[in-house]
Symmetry: C2
Subunit: 205 residues, 2 copies
DNA sequence: TAGATTGTTAATCGATTAACAATC
DNA sequence: TAGATTGTTAATCGATTAACAATC
């Protein structure tokens, strides 16, 4: 195990490896190599070996990596060997889609509360959830110790909602609002903005 | 103007600048500096100047950048000074949310068709759209010259649908399915997978 | 003119690749 | 043993930062 600081760019690739390995495991494959994994995820074998070796010696010369073992290790490293409670703020179309999304299960997350500031939405049911008043964010999240939130509110209110989440102890925000958030550097943000992602490809067309 | 190859990493930042500048323009601001823009997007002033200067001299010493002018230039560079037709494949919850998403307008995109392979969904209406049979992808997209698609199908069918899209002439795919796609290198893919994005943050918690 | 800010160069820093000894 | 593949080192490549002359 290595105590040095691991670059963000490596941490960013681990979930991709994890996803590919999970898929191989689901297909009954027991073992893989950096070569094979690299072909699946579109990354060089050398880089995969280098990335993984930051955290220990998880492979065997001659045979590669045990998928089950590497999965365990990656989950441990990424701290998704547990289930994180996630708050969702914004009960619009995107919020609904996330509330119903099946893809959080088995990947370390579960939504525990949905908030909206629109009083006409408060009390509405989304599957088994009841939309709560956004004003209750501080009390609800602090007491529950929720550290992760997903933000699906309009751009105009995203910053103020983010501020409130951070005040409530949230340290990781998955932001669907099309705006850059200003946060202290002990808070992580990931951005999902379909238009921005599309605009990253049109240059090449 | 510079004819050298521009690194992907720079192209990836331009939509973020574009989004921030658009926001400033909406707020009636006429001029900005690399310093100010950098504070908005969390990137150093030096890097912003370097990125922008790859494409020309768009600023003025002493006063910075005209926001309207820089917006024009960035839209031109990214080729979003036009409206791209986009196909959506997968009429589940996420597909519905994207179909109704207002954030494509004014950012260079419009959805022109929605497909699903589930025959019970074919013919259903989503707002003004009618879900079409996925088998019609080749004929519909080729004749319309659609180059961009968004993929919101299950992981199990994502690769085969991607193959079909590519055969139909699609060159850019925004993939919401939680799987790495194998595509020829003249086809671009961007990935949106909420669990993967969340897993990029838990390491730091 | 004085102050501000660009565009660009050179220096630094960091990431990727290639190569191979070690070893399963 | 022979073949395969890791983990790691050194070399290469690329990106970021600092600094400043140019100039609005």
């Amino acid at each position: 195990m290595n105590a040095e600081k691991i670059p963000d760019i490596i941490i960013g690739r681990l979930p991709v490896y994890l996803r590919a390995l999970q898929r191989m495991a689901d297909n009954g494959i027991k073992t893989t190599s950096s070569q094979e994994l690299g072909e699946h995820v579109g990354i060089s074998a050398a880089q995969i070996r280098k990335d993984i070796s930051q955290f220990g010696e998880f492979g065997k010369q001659g045979t590669g990596y045990s998928i089950a073992y590497l999965l365990d290790k990656l989950r441990e490293i990424l701290k998704v060997d547990r289930i994180w409670d996630v708050a969702l703020v914004g009960a619009g179309d995107m919020g609904h889609a996330l509330a119903r999304y099946q893809g959080f299960t088995n990947r370390g997350f579960r939504i525990v509360a949905i908030f909206d500031s629109d009083k006409t939405k408060v009390g509405q049911k989304i599957d088994e959830f009841v939309v709560e008043d956004a004003e209750k964010i501080p009390e609800r999240l602090k007491s529950a110790g929720v550290k992760i939130a997903m933000l699906t509110v309009p751009a105009t209110s995203a910053q103020s909602v983010a501020d409130k989440l951070i005040q409530a102890g949230v340290k990781a925000i998955l932001n669907y609002a099309p705006i850059s958030l200003n946060v202290p550097n002990n808070v992580k943000v990931q951005y999902i903005d379909p238009s921005t992602h599309l605009q990253r490809m049109t240059y090449y067309l």
